[in-house]
């Protein structure tokens, strides 16, 4: 692995200690969503729609309730109706009317797998028998799956009151287009007029699932006094608490949510499915209710990300300067509005410093499960189209794809088409590193090709609370509230250890529950190391300040005369008097006598999140006999700002790249003419396995984010943005054919190669 990480100027930050939650995870001790048991717990199961689109004429639960061992049934009647209003939620918005209709169908089922009722019973067998005993009378309606079919006149309408927003004048008739968005910079028509070469292409991508290995799971226990506890695998337990309180009409303060260890999320565990049902069932039965989705339910009823259609047009001068760029992006929202079309549009041309840009996007509903966030939601879809066109321009101009990008790359001061001016960003550094890499210079074998693409993600900050307790023996307990999916606790302890100049193993972290810590927005938007890191640093500095205050008291000198240096609390200078320096441990031992416990607490809304750019290089080999594409070498290069724990930064680059490889080559939701998902399992929905892949090389670039105490940028999402275009460019050179549709699975590749006379 090539190491570009600079020699650490810190003692702890930039090193690679073993993560504090590691031993529990290699010994099987760590408790995930399905791993908790409570005395007297019931099993909850969901009855799901067998139809893609149908009106619910009646639901008869009497036979189910009459079965011995069945304790309760809930349907939409158990959840109050919600008004339609859009509430900002991190990288997207939520609408409680849609949310409550998604967790339990009201009046209509809108996709196969849509929840219709839920039961609680003594055991799984009885619960499943109860589902069979529920009689639902449906009036089956015509359905529509593809987003381009859904926008045609005469397509079946999902929501009779959906009037497209963002269009003037407002349409008078309902359609499946929820909204139109537009971003304009300069004058695209003028820019195309100046171009020597214009390339215009249309791309199709399929819906893909986040594919976390741990299915959704929770355990709810509602007491007679109106309080409730919920154990759940989630990316954000404060968010789950808020959603459940709203959907059930309960008080927020009475619900205590504990996040279990989380077995992967990638954006998919930012919403609720089972949680409000389990709480409602527990309230009805006054017993704990455990609910776990099957893998089939995960595929059919939890959010994939959008498939979509992306039209890209770019104009360029002979010297490679891009004069104009246009895109039209149509994304599937699933059954309820809220596709990531807005970030897809904003990301589309973010890699470039352009004068004339126009991007239009459409959010389209169809009879599919409602999409959920998936790692850089929307970014990979639009970037696939744009970066593929950039590659084609490089080919047509006979230019190196890196030189073409360097000529147009976004840099500090670039005004992005979606509005802001970039601060210091690392795209040029990533491109230069690509050019200098061993990989870029390595020879290729027969039937092999090399492709490259760039990617961008915004990253966010937001509400974050951390508590750091100095224990009596000088050890520390760190409480954070952003669920740790891939090494967060390690990074937070490292930042605290760096601040306090202490051994990182002396700090024990936990992810606190919602009743133990102030509000935390969820782990998403690549914000957890950035935001909880910022709060940790503030909390650690507060500990230092308090410790200095205690020493001042002991030494009877003013607080300003005490300083913290090299891990010791010392008199600031000769005038402060001669006092023996004290360690934090020394102060901790006398904390009780000098004012009580020392606790650093930071409740912030983290500002100053900075984008992260990345560049990926992919080598593929295409088998002209079968059309199978094999990735033979791969390098992910990305700006981390500062890598707190480089191993986990590399891990994000590698994992994101491989999810992108799956998206490019194999993964897709396949629907039958009946509107039913045909591949709701890991055998037929093919995520990459170890034998599909080479090692994934990484190069960490560090252009510090000036707004973070250690220079951190969010890094989790960017790695999934470049792979599809990088692989597409690579397959183009390996096979001689340029593809405009994902996945580039063997039958499609073989067919295209045959048509082009290349196979």
């Amino acid at each position: 692995m090539q190491e570009r990480v600079k020699k650490p100027q810190f003692d702890v930050v930039g090193t690679r200690p073993v993560r504090p939650d590691g031993v529990d995870k290699v010994t099987g001790r760590a408790k995930y969503g399905a791993d908790l048991k409570m005395a007297g717990q019931l099993v909850g199961k969901v009855l799901r729609s067998p139809h893609a689109h149908a009106r619910i004429k009646s639901i008869d639960v009497s036979k189910a309730l009459a079965l011995p061992g069945v304790k309760a049934v809930v349907t939409a009647e158990d959840f109050p109706g919600q008004p339609s209003e859009f509430i900002p939620a991190g990288e997207g918005v939520v609408n409680y009317r849609d949310m409550t209709s998604n967790v339990m169908a009201r009046a209509k089922v809108l996709y196969e797998g849509h929840a219709v009722a839920a039961v609680a019973a003594l055991n799984e067998k009885t619960a499943l028998a109860a589902l069979d005993a529920i009689k639902v009378e449906y009036e089956v309606l015509p359905h529509v799956i593809d987003e381009m079919e859904a926008i045609k006149p005469g397509a079946p309408i999902l929501h009779e009151d959906m009037i497209t927003t963002g269009v003037t004048p407002a349409p008078t008739k309902a359609s499946n287009i929820a909204k139109r968005v537009e971003f304009v910079l300069g004058d695209a028509a003028k820019g195309f007029g100046e171009a020597d070469l214009i390339v215009e292409r249309e791309f199709k991508t399929k819906a893909v699932h986040q594919g976390y290995i741990e299915p959704h799971a929770c355990l709810a226990s509602a007491s007679e006094d109106g309080s409730a506890e919920l154990w759940v695998t989630t990316q954000g337990h404060w968010v789950v608490r808020a959603y459940c309180a709203k959907l059930l009409g309960w008080e927020i303060g009475k619900i205590r949510v504990t996040s279990s260890e989380i077995g992967g999320g990638f954006g998919g565990k930012t919403v609720v499915y089972l949680e409000p049902l389990a709480l409602a069932l527990s309230k009805k039965t006054r017993r704990p209710v455990k609910m776990v989705m099957s893998r089939e339910e995960v595929f059919k009823a939890s959010g994939p990300t959008s498939g979509g259609t992306v039209k890209v047009k770019m104009g360029v001068k002979k010297d490679g300067r891009i004069t104009a760029a246009e895109a039209e992006i149509t994304l599937q929202a699933g059954a309820f509005q809220g596709s990531p079309v807005q970030p897809a549009c904003m990301c589309a041309f973010a890699n470039y410093d352009l004068e004339n840009v126009k991007v239009v996007g459409y959010d389209v509903v169809s009879n599919r499960p409602k999409v959920a966030a998936y790692r850089a939601p929307g970014g990979p879809i639009s970037t696939y189209g744009v970066e593929s066109v950039v590659d084609e321009i490089a080919e047509k101009l006979g230019m190196c794809p890196i030189e073409l990008r360097l000529k147009n790359a976004a840099k500090e001061g670039t005004r992005a088409a979606y509005g802001p001016k970039f601060g210091p960003v690392g795209l040029i550094e990533c491109l230069e590193a690509a050019k200098e890499s061993d990989h870029w210079k390595a020879p290729l074998g027969p039937n092999q090709g090399r492709g490259l693409a760039a990617g961008f993600w915004f990253n966010i900050g937001g509400e974050t609370t951390v508590s750091l307790q100095l224990n009596e023996d000088g050890t520390l307990t760190l409480m954070a509230g952003t669920p740790d999916i891939g090494g967060l606790r390690a990074s937070l302890c490292m930042m605290a250890a760096e601040e306090l100049k202490m051994d990182v193993s002396k700090i024990r972290p936990i992810i606190a529950d919602t009743s133990s810590l102030g509000y935390n927005f969820l782990t998403g938007g690549s914000r957890s190391t950035f935001s909880s890191g910022m709060a940790t640093v503030e909390a650690a500095r507060s500990i230092v300040k308090q410790a200095c205050g205690r020493a001042a008291k002991l030494w009877d000198i003013p607080e300003e005369a005490v300083t913290f240096e090299d891990g010791m609390i010392r008199p600031a200078g000769e005038n402060a008097g001669k006092h023996k320096p004290m360690s934090l441990s020394d102060i901790a031992k006398v904390a009780g006598k000098t004012g009580g416990a020392i606790v650093g607490y930071a409740a912030i809304s983290a500002q100053g999140a900075a984008p992260s750019f990345g560049v990926h290089i992919a080598d593929t080999e295409v088998d002209p006999g079968t059309g199978k594409v094999t990735v033979t070498r791969y390098t992910a290069i990305q700006d981390a700002g500062k890598a707190i724990h480089p191993s986990y930064v590399e891990g994000q680059y590698q994992g994101g790249a491989v999810q992108g490889i799956g998206w490019a080559l194999n993964e897709e939701y396949i629907y039958g003419a009946d509107g039913k998902l045909q591949n709701a399992g890991f055998l037929d929905y093919r995520v990459p396995v170890a034998s599909d892949l080479p090692m994934i090389d990484t190069i960490i670039i560090e252009v510090p984010n000036p707004r973070h105490p250690y220079g951190v940028r969010g890094i989790g999402e960017t790695p999934i943005v470049p792979p599809m275009a990088a692989i597409g460019a690579s397959v183009r050179r390996a096979s001689g054919v340029r593809f405009f549709e994902l996945p580039m699975s063997p039958p499609k590749v073989l067919k295209a190669m045959k048509a082009a006379g290349k196979a």
Partner: protein, 158 residues
């Protein structure tokens, strides 16, 4: 319907449990014996998160019935460390940061242990094909493969 009485050995301990005919070994381990280290990711034998060894043979415990464990020796992730001493695979997984969320880790470790018992000196390709039945969605497998190779080298005394 009467439950079946199963007598078996799990991680060297003699154990007994009662189970239904259709109950999987995975459910018996998790629900009857409270051994929650093996995870259910798919219940169809596609993800490998429930991997355990039966008489030394690597299986998906979601595809084995609880009654089939009768008289067998079952080994789960809970039996991998010896007292305070982590197995070299467990240690190398930590050193190489070969896990992110960790849900696949118990299954991967059990599968890797079975590989090294058969082949103490596997090539990268052999490791990749052996672990092809264990899905990991976080790591892209790079650090997993490195950790297994490194543990193998250490166990060989190389």
């Amino acid at each position: 319907m009467a439950k079946h009485h199963v007598t078996t050995t799990v991680n060297g301990d003699p154990v007994e449990y009662l189970c239904e005919s259709e109950q999987t070994l995975l459910d018996c381990l998790r629900d009857e014996l409270d051994l929650i280290g093996a995870k259910e990711g798919c219940s169809s034998g596609d993800c490998g998160a429930c991997s355990v060894l039966i008489d030394g043979r690597l299986v998906c415990s979601c595809l084995v019935l609880g009654v089939e464990a009768e008289g067998k020796e079952v080994e789960t992730i809970e039996g991998m460390a010896q007292g305070d001493e982590l197995h070299p695979l467990q240690r190398k997984f930590l050193e190489h940061a070969a896990l992110q969320c960790g849900i696949c880790t118990p299954g991967v470790l059990i599968a890797a242990k079975a590989l090294l018992a058969k082949n103490p000196d596997p090539t990268e390709t052999q490791v990749r094909y052996w672990l092809a039945g264990n899905l990991c969605r976080c790591t892209g497998y790079d650090k997993i493969v490195r950790a297994v190779m490194d543990a193998a080298a250490e166990m060989r005394g190389a």
